[in-house]
Symmetry: C2
Subunit: 320 residues, 2 copies
Amino acid sequence: MENSLVEKYVFGVDIGGTTVKIGLLDMDGHKIEVWEIPTRTEDGGSKVLPDIAESIRKKMEERGIKDSQVVGVGAGAPGPFDENGVIFKAVNLGWNEFNMKDELHDLVKMPVKCGNDANVAALGEYWMGGGQGYKDMLMVTLGTGVGGGIIHNGKIFNGATGAGGEIGHIHLVDDEPLQCGCGNYGCLEQYASATGAVLLMNRVLESSDEECVLRGKDFVCKDIFDAAKNGDKLANEAIKQYGDCLGKGLAIIASTINPEIIVFGGGVSKAGDILFDLVRPSFEKYVFHGAKRTKFALAKLGNDAGIFGAAKLVLDSVSK
Amino acid sequence: MENSLVEKYVFGVDIGGTTVKIGLLDMDGHKIEVWEIPTRTEDGGSKVLPDIAESIRKKMEERGIKDSQVVGVGAGAPGPFDENGVIFKAVNLGWNEFNMKDELHDLVKMPVKCGNDANVAALGEYWMGGGQGYKDMLMVTLGTGVGGGIIHNGKIFNGATGAGGEIGHIHLVDDEPLQCGCGNYGCLEQYASATGAVLLMNRVLESSDEECVLRGKDFVCKDIFDAAKNGDKLANEAIKQYGDCLGKGLAIIASTINPEIIVFGGGVSKAGDILFDLVRPSFEKYVFHGAKRTKFALAKLGNDAGIFGAAKLVLDSVSK
């Protein structure tokens, strides 16, 4: 391919509940253009894929790109997939089970590969982000929830029914009275998400009479980390608990799959290296000695991880 | 190969601290002969591999098998391996870090492949045992300790430094005062091994004044399961706790790697289906819904799993 005189391209698509992000990349993974279209979830989400196909076609016309120059279209969506491209359910998009790969292929008439959005984002970080240079990677995404993706030998580890890497829902705490969104009690996500940090902070406030800049206020996760950086004692206690929970959860996972590196993404990871200072002691306390040297890194691609990973997904499938 | 008129063979070697088990198999995985030689651990275990090579050579002479008829020699040993066949340490054998694959190859002059004994046993159960027909499998071995192995897409999931599938040392209980052999506190192995069952039984006895056939006696794991089957109340309480711990640990692992099937091996698995009755409620309580349908099965190969897996390891490597 490198010898060809004609430039080749790949499209990476990241389907979210509100917008679809589409990226046009060259074969070396350079972003040429990234744009967004709204996700039309009405009518059971039946317009989502046709809208994507139309947008890609329009972009190709605009830029004078021929079909033969496009290696394929990769796409990530928020649901569990099997290996044939069947998505089982995507509540946010109004979708029930169907073969997304076949349907998108029928629309774009080019090679298509699909995968779970969290796994696809992990693949993006492996290819072009915080996990570059490592074959075995765990990605943990600390946002409203806790998402994850496992990369094994440079490929997505999907699991039997697409739940591989769903690390937000490993059981962590026995006596949790609040129910997790998944229906269980005491999941990692209940403590290690941005929402979880707020829960921990509120519990610290309830259990103490000491002063705290956050007391009586409406606050979000970032406010807790900011207060802690400014020396607030209770905020520091809350983020310590946050790090303890996350470190313990990651230690359990690392003891099972022994990755070379854990890449931290999502909103909470914007706290930066302080996150590692919080997580590392607990991680090292609980991890099996054979996995103690697991490296930590921050994600680098932000919201673009999905389009990079989607592009890589289809590149890998056609280069076989 | 199937078309060849000359019969082909493969050797599977399972190196333990006391004996080395060697199997001669045909290409379809039929056992032709299995024998044992002592493991001579003196002199830093330097005689172990030469002894194996000599025994294999002798067997080939005995049976008139030519070098060209042997596809290769696979071997499992109790230590972590990298992908090049380097074993980092094997305390039981007196070994420090060296390339076991290269050294055994120099001795037998045939293709060689090596791996961790627990992972290799898992591969054996995948190929010819309880995991037959499934691509993604978790093997859990319930013996003196708790071992494990992950099979992903029909291959051993080794992890970055060979600690993949070391599930006995995932953290399970926060306030455990006793230290695990690995140095940590509250590992799965401390409760879900045969030794762990005895610990749980002793704790039940200490916390109660009720009668129990095991009170005041020296007992092993099997005695607890037998007493429970005979209706002993406290023994039933202990094995319920045993199942709760094991179910919770397996739920955490299944939520991470989403296997199709979990295969139970080791001495405790001889309890049979009652084990599943004990483990299933806790497993279903704690597992992520996407992994709830994980199947359970008993291992079928017993102590032969290692030689089958070792044979499969080298068969896979030469068929690439």
